[in-house]
């Protein structure tokens, strides 16, 4: 009899845990993702479930800590500097769901960084013409100047003219070089470097040979709940104080 009671209690506790988890999951799915930071209990629930999902699906590229890898151009997810979107949970969820250049029709596919040292810098846009080595160096000096670093002043002036004119950099990075997170064009005026150490060689490499990083689409491989939980966890990496409350 005692055994049966123990089993019954265990079943009851199991059912209660299942019901609570299921209830919290439904609450999470029905909540406005961007309003989640104002609900500490739900935020904590999502973060705790998102961490193992992040390790399983994202850590291979972004690292277990989410710090990324500048060698491969994998962005740091802990610094609150967002290449795509503005770092809202819905934006992060959209990247996880549909990816970046993932070949999913809803992915962020709009722009690539042309390879200006190749005869056709962007095969899908014949209007973009190659630059000479000197012109690329001039653009690098212009970017150094915009970042407040020591730059060759004359080269920076020439680089500015190219940036805002013939090279067409302004088209994605904006005329102020501050980028456009709607198409994943990075801010070129800050100290954050997506590829390499941000030095002259790394910038030259990016301009000369182009960049087009990829993030897979997880929509067919993760449930809706798992995607939002992972998004909340990623959000928590750069908002640790709020998420751990």
């Amino acid at each position: 009899m005692r055994f049966i009671i123990v089993v019954a209690i265990a079943c009851f506790i199991g059912a209660a845990v299942f019901a609570t988890t299921s209830f919290e999951e439904r609450r999470l799915l029905r909540a406005d993702p961007n309003a989640l930071p104002t609900d500490p209990a739900l935020l904590h629930f999502a973060v705790s479930r998102g961490e193992p999902l992040f390790r399983a699906h994202c850590a291979a590229c972004h690292g277990v800590s989410g710090a990324g890898n500048p060698t491969s151009g994998v962005p740091n997810l802990t610094d609150n500097d967002w290449l795509y979107g503005t770092g809202r949970i819905a934006d992060i969820a959209q990247v996880i769901e549909y990816g970046i250049r993932s070949r999913n029709a809803r992915a962020w596919n709009l722009a690539i960084m042309p390879a200006y040292a190749r005869p056709r810098p962007n095969p899908s846009d014949p209007h973009i013409q190659p630059l000479s080595p000197q012109e690329i160096s001039d653009v690098v000096e212009f970017l150094f100047d915009r970042q407040g670093r020591n730059a060759d002043a004359a080269a920076a002036v020439r680089g500015a003219a190219l940036f805002e004119g013939e090279a067409g950099c302004y088209d994605c990075h904006s005329t102020d070089a501050k980028g456009d997170s709607a198409i994943g064009a990075p801010d070129l005026t800050d100290a954050i470097s997506l590829y390499g150490d941000g030095g002259r060689d790394a910038l030259f490499q990016s301009i000369a040979y182009g960049r087009q990083g990829v993030c897979p689409a997880w929509i067919r491989r993760m449930s809706a709940a798992a995607i939002i939980e992972t998004a909340v966890y990623v959000y928590s990496l750069s908002h640790a104080r709020n998420a751990n409350q």
Partner: protein, 260 residues
């Protein structure tokens, strides 16, 4: 040893409780699982249209795209408008299936072919290759990971610089400016050296090389993003060929006598 007593009432009671619990769980799963739900709308969806789910994430994305607002900020009218648009789209898609538009409408067919190809590519992109595979690929295709050579060459014709070249140029630009024949000779010149006189239709040319920086192989770290892209592109191509072959194998294709 004490004799074991069997209480049939209690056994039946436990049996009944177990059966009811089982039925409840099965019923819960049946009516709430995304693929089988018929009574309630699953939490990850905003509506069911003839059992076809409309995703909540699509709804939120549309709401933001159309009105620039989050769910909590959206007015009742905005929410309703987006929902109605999604339902309308789903109804028309379902009607399109009923009308079998896919067999006659070229745009629908092209979109489907494209969507299937994209799905194949998506699968290849999700699989993360190992570093060892990438390094192996890099070693096997080193000719793809060379920097573009740079040269600064003067082309003298009848004692005058022809002006064809413009200071430091990438090899591809120098090739365009000099032409294939002169470029092939220039590529082999070292810094400070001059070519032998070259007779051409427009006169005798002499090339003088000021600087010749030949293409160099990027180290693996520098080349890695390009290697990963090429590796994936090849995997996508292989998968596409494999999928097409599989589809042909399982299909019953009959070709008209006159076209065999």
């Amino acid at each position: 040893m004490p004799e074991t007593q069997i209480n049939s009432t209690r056994s039946l009671l436990f049996l009944s409780i177990g059966a009811i619990a089982g039925l409840l769980l099965a019923g819960y799963s049946l009516f709430t699982a995304r693929s089988a739900s018929s009574l309630s709308v699953p939490a990850e969806d905003v509506a069911l249209v003839n059992q076809q789910a409309l995703s909540r994430s699509d709804y939120l994305m549309l709401l933001h795209t159309l009105y620039g607002v989050d769910l909590s900020e959206a007015t009742r009218e905005q929410r309703q408008k987006v929902l109605n648009d999604m339902i309308r789209e789903e109804l028309f898609v379902q009607r399109g299936k009923e009308l079998d538009l896919v067999s006659s409408d070229p745009e629908t067919r092209a979109a489907l072919v494209n969507a299937v190809e994209m799905e194949i590519a998506e699968n290849a992109i999700t699989a993360q290759p190992s570093e060892a595979s990438l390094r192996q690929y890099y070693s096997a295709h080193q000719d793809r990971y060379l920097s573009e050579g740079v040269m600064n060459v003067q082309d003298w014709v009848a004692g005058r610089d022809s002006g064809k070249t413009k200071g430091d140029e990438f090899y591809f630009a120098a090739k365009i400016h000099l032409g294939n024949q002169l470029f092939a000779i220039a590529r082999d010149l070292s810094d400070g050296s001059s070519s032998s006189p070259i007779s051409m239709a427009d006169g005798v040319h002499v090339l003088h090389m000021l600087k010749n920086k030949r293409p160099v192989l990027f180290d693996f770290d520098k080349a890695r993003p390009l290697v990963l892209k090429d590796y994936r592109d090849e995997a996508i191509d292989r998968l596409k060929v494999g999928d097409e072959s599989f589809l042909r194998k399982r299909a019953n294709v009959r070709i008209a006598d006159d076209l065999r």
